[in-house]
């Protein structure tokens, strides 16, 4: 029996958004948090005079990777193997989970520590390991909060963004062994997590990580994090298992420069990333002595073959698009039903799974196409364009198809359009008389326009259309 991947939405987006919109606490938490990060990002990006050039170059490098994926994967595998790593290939989530589970069990342990990783979230690795009796402990503070709460992440970079500090104190008090603090000061909470995690690090023999970048030229993996907990996982245990999406490749080591400038400013709003770990294979006597790299496809090759949709694979998981998205700000990450929420999630989840998976087909419609995401994307993914592209493969209700077809038919011909304008005006006349007190606006309309009037008045057709005015004033 196959479990549903954590990138498959169970509930159609409009329905999933409802309870989130009604949660005043969540709305407040999200509003505060996204605005803080958004403003920080805008300030540090404005400091970089060649930002647009960096974006163009980074997009071109990623497109080159997608063009030469098989060749670069082979180059990466050869270099990593030569440096002492063992490279595995996983076509899908089930295969990747099985490979990791076997590697963990081969070490005879029932507990692993984890570096924050979207790839392992995507495949549901923690649940797969739990099924074979292995406990995976998240060591990124925010991931730890989410894990202790038995919740799911709601943001790519800040998975616990939907909690405020008093909610976090409650979670710690309920679930963290040995937690005794009665304060919700961030320093107190962080100190408690540090004590708990320190014990875990020292006992760990196997760690699991992802990678922000994988350099084909050298076989190196690069991990970018803020807390130093990742580095503990990367250096203390004997065995390290990295699960890396195939699109994380960069051709050359020198390509890292641009990306390490783009990523921190876009994600955390920092000029430079605090802990950047770059490691290549195994170094005898230093760090993990067994390095396994699981290269994960899980739909990526299919996405790379779509000339429009493939740009989604440029993504470096910075979250800038989430932080500026007016839809994300109001509904949070859980409404998207995927570990990839927000604008990037709306184009990534349905492409990775295929649009028929669960309710993923509803995700490309979860946007006004306002374009704020495209403006901030450090690798220039034209998210609105891909949203529209995915809508083209949509399966709208028959009534909508009929209405849109009728409208297009009417508008293809000036005579039909003019007749429709006059019919609408005639139909609107009695309504206009009825709604005179409301300024000629309709307060309540029958389905499907009730969706409109639930939130706003509807206009009535003008007493005289523009073209009739033109004929009257400018006609012969």
């Amino acid at each position: 029996m196959s479990r549903q991947l954590p990138i498959v939405a169970r509930t159609p987006f409009p329905r999933a958004a409802g309870p989130q919109l009604a949660d005043a606490q969540l709305r407040g938490n999200l509003r505060r948090a996204t605005r803080t990060i958004r403003d920080k990002r805008a300030a540090v990006v404005a400091e970089v005079p060649d930002w647009e050039l960096l974006r163009d170059r980074a997009a071109a490098v990623k497109d080159d990777v997608l063009d030469r994926l098989p060749q670069l994967l082979a180059q990466f595998e050869a270099a990593a193997t030569a440096a002492g790593a063992v490279v595995h290939h996983a076509a899908d989530a089930a295969r990747a989970n099985a490979v990791v589970a076997d590697l963990v069990r081969a070490q005879g342990v029932d507990q692993v520590v984890k570096v924050k990783s979207m790839a392992t979230q995507e495949i549901g690795l923690n649940e797969a390991l739990a099924a074979v009796g292995v406990t995976a402990i998240e060591t990124d503070l925010a991931e730890l909060i989410v894990q202790l709460a038995e919740d799911t992440p709601s943001h790519i970079l800040v998975p616990a963004i939907h909690y405020n500090r008093s909610q976090i104190r409650e979670i710690f008090a309920r679930r963290m062994p040995g937690f005794a603090a009665d304060s919700d000061e961030p320093a107190v909470l962080a100190a408690a997590a540090r004590v708990y995690l320190r014990r875990t690090f020292l006992a760990a023999r196997v760690a699991v990580c992802g990678a922000n970048f994988a350099v084909a030229e050298t076989g190196s993996l690069v991990i970018v994090e803020s807390e130093g907990n990742g580095r503990m996982c990367l250096t203390l245990p004997d065995t390290l298992i990295a699960v890396v999406g195939v699109e994380k490749l960069l051709p050359r080591f020198a390509d890292l420069g641009d990306f390490l400038r783009l990523l921190p400013r876009s994600s955390t709003g920092e000029r430079m990333n605090p802990y950047t770990s770059i490691f290549t294979g195994v170094t005898p006597g230093d760090g993990p002595q067994r390095l396994h790299i699981v290269l994960l496809d899980n739909g990526r090759t299919t996405v790379a073959a779509d000339p429009v949709g493939r740009a989604a694979l440029r993504c470096i998981r910075c979250s800038a698009c989430l932080n500026v998205c007016p839809v994300y700000e109001r509904v949070g990450g859980h409404a998207y039903g995927s570990v990839y929420p927000g604008p990037i999630g709306a184009i990534l989840s349905p492409q990775l799974t295929g649009q028929d998976a669960g309710a993923n087909r509803t995700l490309p419609y979860a946007s006004t196409l306002c374009g704020a995401c495209y403006d901030v994307c450090p690798v220039k993914i034209n998210i609105p364009e891909i949203l529209v592209h995915l809508r083209q493969a949509g399966k709208p209700p028959a009534a909508e198809r009929a209405a849109m077809g009728l409208l297009a038919w009417t508008m293809r011909d000036r005579r039909r359009w003019r007749a429709a304008l006059r019919a609408a005006r005639a139909g609107g006349r009695p309504l206009r008389a009825l709604t005179r007190r409301g300024g000629g606006r309709l307060r309540r309309a029958p389905w499907p326009l009730s969706a409109w009037t639930a939130h706003r008045d509807a206009p009535l057709p003008a007493a005289e259309s523009f073209r009739d005015w033109w004929s009257r004033t400018h006609g012969r």
Binding site: P14, A17, Q392, L407, R414, D457, A462
Partner: protein, 229 residues
């Protein structure tokens, strides 16, 4: 200069005053406006909702109707953005035409009201209108311009988004309306009737809120031009 007007289907049917105001301003400046009567719709709504084939037919229709015109003006940021990305037509949003092509900042308007301006998403992020509409409004006599808080946030319209994701759209609208009310303005102006239809429908339910107005109507207003609807 001879300028062809693409009025847009929405303005034609529901908001003719935006088109009339565009004609009024350009004629007052001494230009000749033409209205090719075979025009209908640019296909934006179909395209954005995923109906690529009918959208393409409508785009081709606009191309055929306006072939041979050197300058096309439209009082709709989103329709101009759509035509610019999907056709090769020389189409300008009204403020682009006035500021960049005609060099007319002061169009001789007078509007004795407090006005706030909402820069719509397509005007802001596709056309990059920047301060063009604001420069035009700032040159209007007796007009008091006030800043709209969080002006760059989308109002939540998004075409069929407003129906498909009605609750989220309503939540975005509520925030936009609250910001508009906070300005104490008499009017909320914008360069797109579709956003104004959505915002205006929300403002109508809030007592004391600004009234929606296309900024072309402000540019068309003169001391003798009578009351604005």
């Amino acid at each position: 200069m001879r300028i062809a007007l693409f009025v847009t289907c929405l303005n034609d049917a529901l908001f003719p005053q935006a088109g009339i105001a565009t004609v009024t301003v350009l004629e007052r400046l001494g230009h000749t406006v033409e209205f090719p009567a075979a025009q209908t719709c640019c296909g934006q709504m179909h395209a954005n909702t995923g109906y690529a084939a009918p959208a393409r037919e409508l785009e081709r229709g606009v191309e055929a109707v306006f072939a041979g015109h050197d300058a096309i003006v439209s009082p709709s940021g989103s329709c101009v953005a759509h035509l610019r990305t999907h056709t090769g037509l020389p189409v300008y949003e009204l403020s682009e035409l006035l500021v960049d092509v005609l060099g007319s900042i002061d169009v001789g308007a007078s509007f004795p009201h407090r006005v706030t301006y909402h820069p719509t998403c397509h005007g802001l992020r596709v056309l990059r209108l920047r301060d063009r509409p604001l420069r035009l409004l700032a040159a209007v006599r007796r007009l008091e311009l006030v800043d709209l808080p969080e002006s760059e946030q989308c109002c939540g319209f998004g075409g069929t988004f407003a129906l498909k994701n009605a609750k989220v759209s309503g939540a975005m609208l509520a925030d936009k309306c609250a910001n508009a009310v906070a300005t104490g303005a008499d009017y909320l102006a914008a360069a797109d009737s579709s956003c104004l239809m959505h915002i205006g429908g929300g403002l109508a339910r809030r007592p004391g809120a600004p009234r929606p107005i296309h900024y072309a109507e402000i540019l068309a207003a003169t001391p003798g031009s009578g009351p604005v609807p």
